[in-house]
Symmetry: C2
Subunit: 247 residues, 2 copies
Amino acid sequence: MEEGKVTVRAVERALDILLCFTDANELTLTEIAVRVGLHKSTVYRLLASLEHKGFVIRDAESEKYKLGFRLWELSANLSQADDPAVVLLPEMERLRDMIGETISLYVRDGHERIRIQAVQSSQAIRRVAPVGVRLPLYVGASSKVLVAYADAEDRESLFSSPTWPVSIDQEAYERQLADIRASGFATSVEEREPGAAAVAAPILNRSGSMVAVLSVSGPANRLTVDKMKEHAAAIKDAAARMGKMVK
Amino acid sequence: MEEGKVTVRAVERALDILLCFTDANELTLTEIAVRVGLHKSTVYRLLASLEHKGFVIRDAESEKYKLGFRLWELSANLSQADDPAVVLLPEMERLRDMIGETISLYVRDGHERIRIQAVQSSQAIRRVAPVGVRLPLYVGASSKVLVAYADAEDRESLFSSPTWPVSIDQEAYERQLADIRASGFATSVEEREPGAAAVAAPILNRSGSMVAVLSVSGPANRLTVDKMKEHAAAIKDAAARMGKMVK
DNA sequence: AACACGGTTTCATTACGTGAAACCTATCGG
DNA sequence: CCGATAGGTTTCACGTAATGAAACCGTGTT
């Protein structure tokens, strides 16, 4: 396992436990142990620490663990200024008005992506994109960008994980990712949803790491090859500007 | 140092670091090191872990550390239904409208209490109670309730801790706590702040454990003995109702 | 009764987290 | 221009403290 940063194992494990609660809001100790792949007693001790500091609590009746009040305190202090979903919204609206299609913003979360922001096209036929949904990482333009711009070791662990479809021709897929990195955007036509097409580009901050992925999506029959090219240019341009707005 | 729970040192330290950001939203590594009382390199490693998991980030321009986007994800999943500060707010407003004084909600946090919610009296002369402040646990009506209803061993460790004022006559104090438990409320007149008085009662959930403490506070000259009695009745009533609303 | 399923405790082992100290790179002030 | 300061990073030897296995406890469930 390649590192690069000097981290503290116990802490990372504890944080992994916290992150379990992004897609489940009540878990038992053993469920958590399975999720993070650690021994019961290890999880027990880590949870005890998290509980002691108020980051998790045990629900009185269900006897299960859930997130604690400490996170309220912290999230109250989260400077909204750093949340891409907030900062980039105006810019996304500008882009939407310019090209007239639905604009989405995704971040990767483990083996999925989350749509953290979206502005809807105002056209009658349009892509409807609810905020907050989780989508698989192996289909769609945004997914491909998220994977293409992940760091190497991260990608490796993704591909070797049991959630990654074995049906994918890894050879061809890698070539596709290389193309995406070269061109700076990805496209998809009816990959995830029939009748839908999309163009996506990474938002890279000043230090060059990916903050999120921006996408234009709409009905496939409106997103012709020419239109896609136009959109790709527009979205790359917007993404570059956005990259300067976030850490 | 009395324990009682098997915790993981590194994790607790990391969480302490996170908690630094409740009262400051940008900190340098060394500032953090001072706050938590650890060596630079230790904090460095813990921060690296927190950063790696997205719980803190380094601001691009200020180069300081701040809370990361991961907390957004988590707080999105915080079941609002369990946060007393949210659930009980409407009820607190009702109470405020009824008796016309500032209503506060406190929880205990180690050797302090935190005001997790407050609704302000609309009178010209009033108690102004900002949410989020931390106050000592040895003065004020709310403090006394928080201590009185803590479990015995918890109280013991509190009293034997170095932060507990030695000046307190423990004998008399214990009697006072017993009275509070008997009557179900506590009062204070100019105990913590000159000119201010308060009445406080515990919010006990169905299983009988204390969730928070509710208090009425205002200028001492308005909170006469008679008024205090009225308020005590009102607040006990409200607290009882609230106790059924939370876990 | 036997079993499964959560949580808790104990214990031996050594990996891992730790603090000190050195180092690097800026920025500041005389 | 040089020394000082401050913030961050790396290295290293040491010994604690985190770990996994296994046993244990309580409570349902069959």
